[in-house]
Amino acid sequence: MEYEFHWNIVFQNMPELLNGAFVTLHVSVLAMLLGIVIAILLAIVKMNNSKPFCYVATTWVEIARNTPALFQIYMAYFGLGALGIHLSPYVAVLSALVFINAGYLTETFRGGFQSIPSTQYSASKSLGMTSLQLYRYIILPQMLRRIYHPMTNQFVWSILMSSLGILVGMSELSGTTQRLQSSSFRTLEFFMVAAVMYFIITKLVLLGSSLISRKLFKGEIG
């Protein structure tokens, strides 16, 4: 092995890498939150079956699910640019991730809603519950349990996919790594550290999610 590792330069640039990691986390949290809001709307539209909106929702979901994430990001960055809408790399990656998250989560939410048998609605009504009580105590707790794992997976997926920001010059973890390695030529060291940081981020997110689920569902998760 003739390669000599030089870790000094990596440690000197650690603040910048951590900053990049923060941007990664930040963009994926934002993409997840916006994705959830849009997905709820799309799921409601799809379940109501009102014709023109339903087509829009279906098209959205199918495009998001059947094309690569990199394609979405290029589309947001170069494609919209051709139409005169110039997004910054951050906004381009964010909007692509929101688009995909919304597409995937719509199906998750729809599945969660439909997994609750309609008899439960009539049962709660016959017990004299108001609609608010029905959703608060019967429907939502069950639904959350069913969609919690898919949602966590989607969140981890968006963290990993935000690394595509490297290709449009965004300054998240991998983009920062790319910039630092190109000025120092320590490609291997920088990317190894980035890999470790991604690993730690995903593990922390999964740990946090399982702690929350233990608190929220007290272990009864389907």
Binding site: E62, P68, F71, F78, L83, S163, A195, Y198
Partner: protein, 216 residues
């Protein structure tokens, strides 16, 4: 002299190469990933807790580090060791390993879905261990996970776009080069999107159809 030349029919060959390369690397990764995943998944379903945890940890690394980082890391690592590989080989190795990490999980759950009593009854009918594997466990377990297998295979086709970062001329990279020459990003990108959609949509609808048929 004009540097920006419009898209012409001469570019079809170039795009077709890109399409062929995308298809090739996806097929290679799916086939290798499935075979490796089958072996690893079987080993994980059969082996003890400790071995399982070790295996699981290794596979976890493949699943929790972004593919793009793995690709760059592997190709520079191999290069720094003095054995540079061409982008296709390096890309297929990493993409196959990445696929394996997901496939092994799919197959493990398939193997574990076959109930223990079925294996016991097969053994009591005088089947050998390997006969129970090949005639009972594989067919039943594999059928149960077919939709998930298809889902992973589809995501591999989509993720194969990332191999472009190490210089493999797949569809998205060829289109990127055409874009930088013609400055017509919208048309080219829409074409590329339609191509991926045409491959992916029928398969994913078929997967959903099978899944629905299996649950009812």
């Amino acid at each position: 002299m004009n540097f920006i030349t419009p898209l012409s029919w001469d570019d079809t060959g170039f795009i077709l190469t890109g399409i062929m390369n995308t298809v090739t690397i996806s097929v290679v990764a799916i086939v290798l990933g499935t075979l490796l995943g089958l072996i690893v998944g079987f080993m994980r379903a059969e082996s003890s807790r400790v071995v399982n945890a070790l295996f699981g940890g290794l596979l976890d690394i493949l699943r929790s580090v972004p593919l793009i980082i793995q690709l760059v890391l592997f190709s520079t690592f191999i290069g720094a060791m003095g054995h540079p590989l061409n982008p296709f080989v390096a890309g297929s190795i990493i993409l196959s390993l990445y696929t394996m990490a997901f496939m092994s999980e799919v197959f493990r759950s398939g193997f574990e879905s076959v109930h223990q009593s079925m294996m016991t009854s097969a053994r009591s009918l005088g089947m050998t261990y390997w006969q129970t594997i090949f005639y009972i466990r594989l067919p039943i377990g594999l059928r149960a996970v077919f939709p998930s297998w298809l889902g992973v295979a589809l995501s591999v086709i989509k993720d194969s776009a990332l191999v472009s970062v190490i210089g493999y001329m797949e569809l998205l990279r060829t289109s990127e080069q055409l874009i930088s020459r013609t400055q017509q990003p919208l048309m080219i990108l829409i074409g590329v999107g339609i191509f991926y959609f045409i491959i992916s949509y029928p398969l994913s609808s078929y997967g959903r159809y099978v899944e629905r048929k299996m649950t009812t």
